[in-house]
Symmetry: C2
Subunit: 298 residues, 2 copies
Amino acid sequence: MNTKDLAYFHQLISQKNFSQVADHFGVTQPTITLAVQRLEREFNARLVHRDRVHSQLIVTDAGQQLDVHASAVLRSLHVAHQEIDRLTQQQTVLGLPPIIENHYFPRVAARLQAAGMLENIRTIEGGSKWLRTALHDGQADIGLLGSTAPLSYNSLVAEEFDRQPFSIFVAKNHPLARRKRITFSELRHERFVLFTRSFIHDSAFNQLSHRNHFRPNVVFRSADTHLIMNLVAENVGITFLTALVDPHRDDVVRLDLLDDEQPAFISSIVYRNNHVMTAAQKRVLEILHATLGPTGSR
Amino acid sequence: MNTKDLAYFHQLISQKNFSQVADHFGVTQPTITLAVQRLEREFNARLVHRDRVHSQLIVTDAGQQLDVHASAVLRSLHVAHQEIDRLTQQQTVLGLPPIIENHYFPRVAARLQAAGMLENIRTIEGGSKWLRTALHDGQADIGLLGSTAPLSYNSLVAEEFDRQPFSIFVAKNHPLARRKRITFSELRHERFVLFTRSFIHDSAFNQLSHRNHFRPNVVFRSADTHLIMNLVAENVGITFLTALVDPHRDDVVRLDLLDDEQPAFISSIVYRNNHVMTAAQKRVLEILHATLGPTGSR
DNA sequence: AATTCATATAAATATCTTTTATAATAGTCC
DNA sequence: GGACTATTATAAAAGATATTTATATGAATT
């Protein structure tokens, strides 16, 4: 069977129009007709039903089932292409969310450099949610992801290596600045400057505000911790970040949260469970474990 | 790309001999050479390395990686074939381990029959471990599996519906027969007639004997509960089974185990996570949930 | 040196895929 | 209601790909 037929078919299921699919692939319309006919013969079943009355394409049960497998097959091949491309370039792509990159990566990079392996590492940055997708479809080989619940994905292996609480940061001259600890419910009337929603901080924050029955006043969102800290220092609002983001600055104060059952920022090493680690990648993983694992940290 | 090339390649990786692979598929030897060349061109990488010196075939990193994807692709297509075959025959295959079949299935079958759906169900029997594989590669659509730990598989969804303790069964005239409860450690010097190793009972049994630091004396194994019960009745030995296997006989006595942290026989409804349920299959699942779920049972 | 085993290459043949050209069917527009 | 449009199907020809046949190469084995 030709995988092109699967690609045509998969596109047909989403576009539901033979001619448009043909255009999409730069082929003529009968090509698509014939491809579907070949698949119907191969699987000995009707896959789509050309309903001329309502001029719409009906996908049969068999068609739906095949489409699921077709997309899995196409994804597999796409991932294989990317992985093998990187293998020949001797590159490993490491996906890092900004907070993790700032906090954990410097130590990892130092050890990778000492092992002469840093030049074979390329990093890509993005929120944990986006990186999960990037790992899944082969754009990255290994990721350090943050999450609030232990990760468990179908095609990914996750190894938790750290768990950090979330904290509140306020300006030095803020009324709460003298406090060391605080409960989330006391923040009911504060203004918040927060991370963008694509960060998992958002789910942790929502969890806490939902549990404390109030809708927090979020005055601004940014993807940049430094901007957020600057805004906090100027008293535009207070913020909610992991304790990992140590500001190294004297105009912002950190307050620990006292709530029971707080959400935690869980950091995990993640990779595809069908990814074959090369000798070099195994060493990268070892360095990650050694640096980030219980013995290696701080 | 032609999936045949992937099949040739995957076989080559396991057989490591071009001519034998050609024989295996009933084609001539150059076919395999050319298939590998096409793949190497497609992925722009060496996949195998023909080491003439030691007359062995070395698989490159890229080749290893491709092989993993090739087998995933071939499996996907194989599963698709089976699923679609059954779809056109309007059949759903239900995988059942013997204990579950005897204990839970009669009630399910009654409801399925009442709904006029029993004739579209075909069952296959096998140990839980074998059925897991059967589900994974598409021989069955839905399985009721037993396990000692909550199931979590890559490509399978598992929904736990019951948890039963394991018990000890002894002959009526056995010295222990008057006891109602017993700890596993008291069985140190008993003879055991057990289920075959392919049943999960074996892992539970091993767990208990390991925890109690003794190697039990297993005198016989069988896959047939009735035979086991007959042997127990004849005092050939005692056995270790779930409480589900209620013998309905007066020559065998059940003893509850008193141990803390006993392993449990967990029953789950399992299916492939990429299986598209037809309307009929959804109704089968509903009936399973209704019959086996917390409300529906006994 | 001759033989064997394993894989590669080239040309011919067989098979599959795509295009071109056209037909069929139903809906829309005036 | 006939012309027109949109969509998919079919048949034959052309183009592309896969497989075979026949033979070569290269190293190990006898």
